[in-house]
Symmetry: C2
Subunit: 310 residues, 2 copies
């Protein structure tokens, strides 16, 4: 079964929010431009959090203003509160991503607020988005597990999704914040949300921290989910999961989706080239497998090989 998959590229936001290597505004804009050139249309480009909390994304306005071929892109920005919303409102974004953690402890550690308070703060942001002609989107962090509490019950995530939907959100991103999702839980949660909120669009956001991301994508596709998020090179991660690899790499995700017969509209070679360029920016090797290994079907010349190993 071939389906059309839409990917949101999140390297510039989730990928860089905890990045310690300096990345200039120009480099962020170039990053987005290079990925767009490979056919990517949707980007989460930055976060309108306090620059004090996330210094790496302090240039949110400049990044949005500098976007190349703005009209061809669907531009999402993370908007955590009304202060962020007022900053975002001065720019022309297509979607505001409003989030809450399903886990109480993660909500406290990440946002210094309870899940209940975080949800309470979303309504005015969502209302302002509507006024501004921007689509509000909900994102649920720790949808598949919390670093402090462990299991996050499916019913809890469904409840947060329902609350967001009641506020007027039609799309929900399920964030596997620390890479603990596994296939049967993905199936269970997707089915539970579908049963409660049949009209809601589900976006799956996996991290590859324990190597399970593509197995989770396979399960999402079997459940008919056609929207995923990924980060070029597999950058990112969670400050509460030190040493662990980050988001599912865009290169690996697209390679996998194409082999499985799905369409993404993306050019594999272009993504790999962008990934290698990104490695020069961050001055280190990135976790994407496709930055080390050739795509399936690209062969090695035997005589070249013999010279190399002989």
């Amino acid at each position: 079964m071939t389906i059309d998959i839409t990917i949101t590229e999140v390297a510039a936001r989730d990928g860089l929010q905890n990045e310690t290597h300096p990345v200039s505004t120009e480099q962020k804009i170039e990053l987005i431009g290079r990925i767009a050139k490979a056919g990517m249309k949707r980007f989460e480009v930055t976060s309108f959090v306090s620059p004090r909390a996330v210094p790496a994304l302090a240039d949110a306005e400049e990044v949005v203003k500098g976007l190349p071929e703005r009209d061809r892109l669907i531009v999402e920005g993370l908007v955590p509160n009304m202060r962020g919303a007022e900053r975002a409102a001065a720019l022309k974004l297509d979607e505001w991503v409003c989030f809450a953690s399903a886990s109480e402890s993660h909500s406290q550690a990440n946002s210094n607020t309870s899940t209940e308070e975080a949800l309470g703060r979303l309504q005015p942001v969502i209302d302002l988005a509507r006024q501004e002609g921007v689509t509000p989107v909900g994102a649920i962090a720790t949808s598949f597990g919390c670093p402090f509490e462990g299991d996050v019950p499916v019913a809890r995530v469904v409840d947060v999704a329902r609350r967001m939907t009641d506020m007027g959100v039609e799309t929900i991103k399920l964030g596997d914040t620390i890479g603990t999702a596994w296939p049967s839980r993905v199936r269970e949660l997707v089915q539970a949300i579908r049963a409660t909120l049949p009209k809601t669009t589900i976006v799956l956001h996996f991290h590859n921290t324990r190597g399970m991301s593509l197995a989770n994508v396979l399960t999402g596709i079997a459940e008919g989910v056609d929207r995923y998020e990924s980060a070029l090179g597999g950058v990112g991660g969670c400050p509460f999961a030190p040493g662990a690899t980050g988001n599912v790499p865009t290169e690996d995700l697209v390679h996998f989706l194409h082999l499985e017969g799905n369409r993404t509209g993306l050019d594999m070679d272009g993504l790999i080239k962008a990934g290698h360029w990104f490695e020069t920016v961050l001055e280190r090797k990135l976790p994407a497998h496709l930055l080390r290994a050739k795509p399936v079907g690209v062969t090695t010349d035997l005589s070249e090989m013999k010279r190399a190993t002989g």
Copy 2:
């Protein structure tokens, strides 16, 4: 659906055959002993290839003779030809693994022989195994793709499996030698072999070169395959796929299988400890994700975390 999965640990053979860091015979024996202590019963311990061709496994006899708790283990050895078979016959192995490459070019590059010639040489080895009271097993390299030819047709692999079965082999290992397997091909090949050889036991051997190994395992399990191979730490790889990661790591495989509700009889903590010890032997970080990230369900103490990041 909970099923009992049997894993064959191949670090000492597939994992070390191309290893450039010196590993002593004592260390190989300790490696197997530590993994056995975590509950592993089946091991591919070495290869009876020419010591000139694979110097890293020149100590095949010493490894087998030194195995701890020999009676508790099912010991497999790779036996490429009659010369190897004669060496193996002097020892007490449980199974001899006889292999051929499904791809002509890989057969030439790896064994300096055609697939046809390689198959022709198997019969006397299989006959000798029988005489010696040893179980002969077939292994098909490049079952899911060749570094030089690209695609390896399903019909070709089925044909090699049928030839091996005709020679008296009841178990066939499908080797994803260069990590090019993807789920729908796994399903297709498993179903095709089942249709032709319904009595044959299938063992799936994946590499994680392109991050797809656990998605492939998920598919294998959906098809009812209950035998897999893996290597502690994710060591190994292929000399024809430089820079690429190796076998699916035992730590990652077992972690995944347990989350999905399967039984392996293996102790996750014990495997992780063995993996960290293996890193000290090889003096480098190994690719297994579970050597960096905690198993799902093992939580971090929030107050500890605040001190660490504060």
